[in-house]
């Protein structure tokens, strides 16, 4: 009887998840291993908006770092520049790429030394109030696409 009940509950689980609906999915997540003596790391990922409404990534935190900010690199008149951005928008049913030379997460003051293969937790907060926790591997090189 109990087993039956459990099975029924298990069957319902995906439905429950579906009704809440994850608003955003993440892929191509990686964090660049810091060169020796450096305590500022860049994090990269692609965010896909699964809803029909535009969303904004409003906050990023990580228990492994003292501070995380969103930044954008850009080249203007042959000069490499970087600016902090308060949020990044993701169009409805669209995606945004955090990648070298563009948007990136700036992860500051890691609480311990990080090496390739280590996993960092990133907590993302969106404009609709939803949250997404992702596991980001530390890598020497970008993942192959």
């Amino acid at each position: 009887m109990l087993r039956r009940l459990m099975q029924a509950l298990l069957l319902l689980l995906p439905l429950a998840a579906w009704s809440d609906g994850p608003a955003v999915s993440a892929s191509h997540v990686w964090i660049r291993q810091p060169p020796p003596g450096i305590s500022v790391l860049a994090g990269y990922l692609t965010l896909q908006n699964l809803t029909g409404k535009p969303l904004e990534l409003k906050s990023v935190t990580s228990p492994e770092f003292n501070a995380v900010e969103m930044h954008r690199s850009f080249v203007k008149d042959d000069v490499e520049q970087m600016e902090q951005v308060p949020s990044v928008s993701i169009p409805a049913h669209g995606s945004v790429e955090f990648k070298p030379g563009s948007y990136h997460l700036m992860l500051m003051q890691p609480k311990k030394d990080l090496f390739p293969g280590d996993i960092v937790t990133l907590d993302l907060g969106f404009s609709d109030g939803s949250e997404l926790t992702i596991m980001a591997p530390v890598r020497h090189d970008p993942p192959a696409h």
Binding site: R32, P36, V40, A42, D78, V79
Partner: protein, 213 residues
């Protein structure tokens, strides 16, 4: 003089200008018959580097003499740069792999020149450069010493406002400078650097400069 009378003169002037342009074009092309088409910006004429005097992480003076006798790539940045500098240095590491089999003179020496001497000590710079490639060399110096090199090269840098923790970003020129074995600026590579494209361009430039390949 009436306007009507001036017309023949205007015609002559136009002819002279057109002739001058044609002559210039022909002279240029006869001098550079095999000028390669590159993604890199190949300077019309190699431009001698100014005299400069920095320190490098190989433990010596970094001046024009250090750049002679072999090809070189100079990249200006800073170590507290999370995105642009590691991306460029990783691409230069891949590029170095593609050109590793060239003879010593033609294998470009890569120099990472920090424009943030306040934070980038030589020891920090050394570990940083070596992290990307054991053959890379770091260099820096006082602001005045840096400007003696960056000014004539057209390389710019400026410092952002420090945050509460005293961290600041440094805006810096994005291109990588190619310097020939005579210490002359030859070409500029702009990001995003694609190692394969860069190495094809580099070989084309070597050939154009009459290097044996």
């Amino acid at each position: 003089m009436k306007f009507k009378n001036m017309l023949p003169y205007a015609g002559l002037l136009l002819l002279a200008v057109a002739g001058g342009l044609l002559a210039g074009y022909l002279t240029f092309h006869s001098r550079h018959p095999d000028r390669p088409v590159t993604a890199a910006l190949l300077l019309h004429d190699a431009k001698p580097l100014p005299d400069f005097n920095l320190m490098d992480t190989a433990g010596g003076t970094f001046n024009k003499t250090r750049l002679t006798g072999h090809w070189n790539l100079l990249y200006f940045g800073y170590t507290h740069c999370p995105d642009a500098c590691p991306t460029t240095l990783a691409a230069l590491d891949n590029f170095s792999g593609l050109t590793a089999k060239l003879p010593k003179r033609l294998k470009p020496q890569v120099y990472f020149i920090s424009v943030d001497p306040q934070r980038d000590s030589l020891s920090l710079l050394k570990n940083y450069a070596l992290y990307f490639n054991p053959d890379f060399t770091g260099a820096t110096g006082s602001l005045d010493a840096l400007r003696a090199l960056t000014g004539p090269l057209g390389v710019e840098f400026s410092y952002g406002k420090p945050d509460a923790k005293g961290d600041y970003a440094v805006d810096h020129t994005s291109f990588v400078v190619l310097v020939d074995p005579q210490g002359e600026e030859v070409a500029l590579f702009s990001p995003p650097l694609e190692p394969e494209r860069m190495s094809a361009d580099y070989l084309a430039i070597l050939k154009f400069y009459g290097e044996p390949l």
